[in-house]
């Protein structure tokens, strides 16, 4: 059984909570005591119907204000796949939350109200999904029941969105007409839309091909730590612990270690005594090498003919996540990239991007909360990175405010800055 992570975006009005509630309920992932608790609370609040949003909104403040504050993670499974939903709220901090949810997602699900069509927030969500390189995008045209299940409405929205999405880089785009309230085309096929020949939402989630979304070409193995038992029994044992972020490693493969540039061969791949014939993303393994080299945390193991970019000057898109500060040229921050930590200075802010219009504001002097812009930055030590479009793991970084230790920025690398 495979694991699929997807992010949902939309506001309460789009019926997102109803849709998630429907997916969970129809796959028997909501259990009786959870439903009973929601019923009790709904009744106490005087809601007219059982408010499935209460199932999702867990914090006191969320229940009091009737809004979702933070990304919430939900889990369900079918016979085919296990699903992790990163449910991102549409109201507060939408960009910060959606960037967070999308960063680990295989698929983004965006809801559109059939009566309203493509709105500003639809475009915004689609843009963020494409910026974060979520490989699969699903547009659910919801509330089809309120437009008499009319094919013309669906076709119109699809065409309008298609036109817009040409500006984005969306590899795989799917449109599904649904009614979350009635369950049409969510888990089971609707008999009210015979004109729709595509899959139901759940069928699509179960079958969308995600295995080749990973980078299996460029070997990237950032060293997390060195495992040296210091015991008589394992006197000679020395291995590098880490998670494979790209490519396929096999024993006897020739590898290069950065920053030293030395080459050697993989002697052994294993985890907890179990030998492996190959290791690929996202496996966590121990790699031992034929020769003893000076290797420590933050170093990178790759193939000699296929190294990552190496450098201290990066060109990147940054989403600013902090309420209390802004990103400005000259700012010094801590940076975490793969297993490497360093300091970074923002050299230049090229433009701020309007996430609604995609307009580039080159006059902008800073990035505030939820704003996205293109920057160049210089790091105190060289990083071993790839363009984000090639590898989401070696192409991403976070920025940390050294005074408060807060995570204040999320970065996606365009390439080396010259």
């Amino acid at each position: 059984m495979e694991l699929l992570r997807f992010a949902t975006a939309g506001s309460v009005d789009d019926g997102k909570s109803t849709l998630i509630g429907r997916l969970l309920y129809d796959t028997k992932s909501i259990l009786e005591d959870q439903l009973a608790a929601v019923e009790r609370t709904s009744k106490a609040r005087g809601d007219e119907y059982v408010n499935l949003a209460l199932l999702l909104d867990g914090l006191k403040a969320e229940r009091e204000q009737g809004i979702t504050i933070d990304v919430a993670y939900r889990y369900f499974a079918t016979a085919k796949r296990k699903f992790i939903i990163a449910d991102t709220p549409g109201h507060l901090q939408y960009t910060r939350n959606m960037v967070t949810g999308a960063s680990t997602a295989d698929l983004a699900l965006i809801l559109v109200d059939a009566r309203k069509g493509v709105l500003e927030q639809t475009r915004r969500h689609a843009f963020i999904a494409s910026l974060l390189r979520v490989p699969h995008l699903v547009l659910c045209i919801n509330k089809m029941d309120l437009v008499n299940f009319d094919q013309a409405v669906f076709d119109g929205i699809r065409e309008e969105f298609r036109k817009f999405s040409m500006k984005l880089d969306v590899a795989d785009l799917t449109f599904i007409p649904i009614s979350a309230l009635g369950g049409d085309n969510v888990v089971s096929r609707s008999d009210k839309m015979p004109w729709y020949e595509g899959p139901t939402l759940l069928h699509h989630l179960e079958n969308v091909h995600i295995a080749s979304d990973r980078n299996l070409i460029h070997v990237r193995f950032p060293v997390q730590s060195v495992i040296r038992p210091m015991s008589a029994k394992y006197h000679d044992y020395r291995a590098y612990a880490g998670q494979v972020l790209g490519g396929v490693l096999r024993p006897d493969d020739e590898v290069m270690v950065l920053p030293s540039g030395f080459t050697t061969r993989i002697r052994d791949l294993e985890l907890a005594g179990k030998r492996l014939t190959e290791a690929f993303p996202p496996m966590s393994v121990n790699v031992s090498l034929a020769e003893e080299l000076d290797i420590s945390r933050g170093d990178m193991i790759c193939r000699p003919g296929n190294p990552p970019l190496v450098g201290q000057d990066l060109d990147a898109m940054v989403c600013w996540l902090s309420e209390s500060t802004a990103l400005q040229p000259g700012a010094r921050l801590a940076i975490k990239h793969t297993t490497r930590s360093a300091r970074a200075m923002i050299k230049q802010l090229h433009y701020r991007l309007d996430v609604n219009t995609l307009h580039r504001d080159e006059q902008s002097a800073q990035l505030k909360l939820n704003e996205i812009g293109r920057v160049t930055l210089r790091t105190t030590v060289p990083l071993f990175f790839d363009e984000y479009r090639r590898n989401r793991h070696t192409g991403s970084f976070i920025l940390i405010d050294e005074a408060t230790n807060a995570t204040v920025g999320a970065g996606m690398i365009n390439g080396s800055a010259v």
Binding site: L31, D33, G58, D70, T104, I217, P282, N414, G415
Partner: protein, 329 residues
């Protein structure tokens, strides 16, 4: 209009796609991991990240199934080197003897160091007021000795076995969850967590709670226990026990629980879905004696594990959030 990531001079996308397709065609069997393998890889990465970035970690080990799986993953993460941190049990004094036995056997087997933070000692010393009455529980009282032990040993990372699917406040919890100098959790002011880039920074006196099992569900845990043959305390499997009904739940009779008028002790075939303090952990009727049979029962269950077995979450809709804010697990 071009894509914002389309940067002049950074091209070669065509060649890259072609190369990728060729290799994928060559290897028609795709490199797929099962959901358990993917979860294991993520958890091991998290545990290793903590040890690489924080110098004083500790792993909370209650002897329950989640902490048993977390410990198993931690051992795998560093093997063949020994576990690079101690274990800690917050002991309410109201334990199932089978669980303490299991705890001690596991600690001895690994040659690990166990720190016991005692609720009884904290009560005796007057640092915690004991709840009174038939529904009294020491569950909430655990927070005080937990925070005291963290301070005393200067731990800056505390591994917990909590899962996001357990409870709605936990669904909003980070993997690396920051705690201030009072051990408090501020759910409205959490650090954004992106990709697998975890921020472990903190000042002296502050610490991080780390939850390597965040993305696991109850069923994942049991499937993994089955796959890896993880040993568990015997009370997770069907056994005969003296029990009584309270609030729709089946409570184990023990000297720590005062009976209410009308409550009657009977004997039943039961097992536990969760293991905690004897005063607030209930059992379910079951004939499952193997992991496989437990999995079959869980698949058919229409009630969550906390709903079936935790009296402590029934006080209010936000009981867990309230406890967590104070520094609870």
């Amino acid at each position: 209009m071009s894509h914002p990531l389309d940067v002049p001079g950074v091209t070669g996308e065509e060649g890259w796609r072609g190369c990728r397709e060729a290799v994928l065609a060559y290897r028609s069997v795709s490199y797929e991991l099962s959901h358990l393998e993917a979860l294991e890889a993520e958890s091991i990465f998290i545990i290793r990240e903590v040890v690489a970035e924080l110098d004083r970690p500790v792993l909370l080990f209650s002897g329950g199934k989640d902490s048993a799986v977390m410990l198993h993953l931690a051992v795998k993460a560093f093997a063949p080197a020994p576990l690079p941190f101690p274990l800690m049990h917050v002991d309410t004094g109201h334990n199932f003897p089978e669980v303490i036995q299991y705890r001690d056997a596991r600690v001895a087997e690994l040659g690990a160091r166990l720190i016991v933070a005692s609720v009884q000692e904290a009560i005796d010393a007057g640092r915690v007021a004991e709840e009174k009455g038939p529904r009294a529980s020491r569950n909430r009282a655990q927070t005080v000795p937990l925070l005291e032990a963290i301070e005393k040993h200067q731990f800056n990372a505390v591994f917990g076995g909590a899962r996001r699917d357990e409870e709605k406040a936990r669904a909003k919890e980070r993997v690396f969850s920051f705690r201030d100098e009072f051990g408090q959790w501020d759910p409205k002011n959490q650090r954004p967590e992106l990709w697998s880039l975890y921020n472990a920074r903190h000042r002296r006196g502050e610490h991080l709670r780390v939850f390597p099992l965040s993305n696991w569900t109850e069923l994942d845990i049991w499937q993994y226990i089955d796959q890896e043959r993880v040993a568990l305390p015997s009370i997770y499997f069907s056994h005969r026990r003296e029990v009584f009904r309270r609030d729709g739940m089946l409570m184990a009779w023990s000297p720590f629980l005062q009976m209410l008028p009308g409550e009657e002790v009977t004997t039943a075939e039961v097992r536990f879905r969760t293991v905690g303090d004897m005063t607030c952990t209930a059992c379910v009727e079951s004939t499952a004696t193997t992991v496989e049979q437990v999995i079959t029962e869980i698949r058919a269950s229409r009630v969550t594990e906390r709903g079936a077995s935790r009296a402590d979450d029934k006080f209010s809709e936000t009981a867990m959030e309230d406890r967590k804010r104070e520094g609870y697990f």
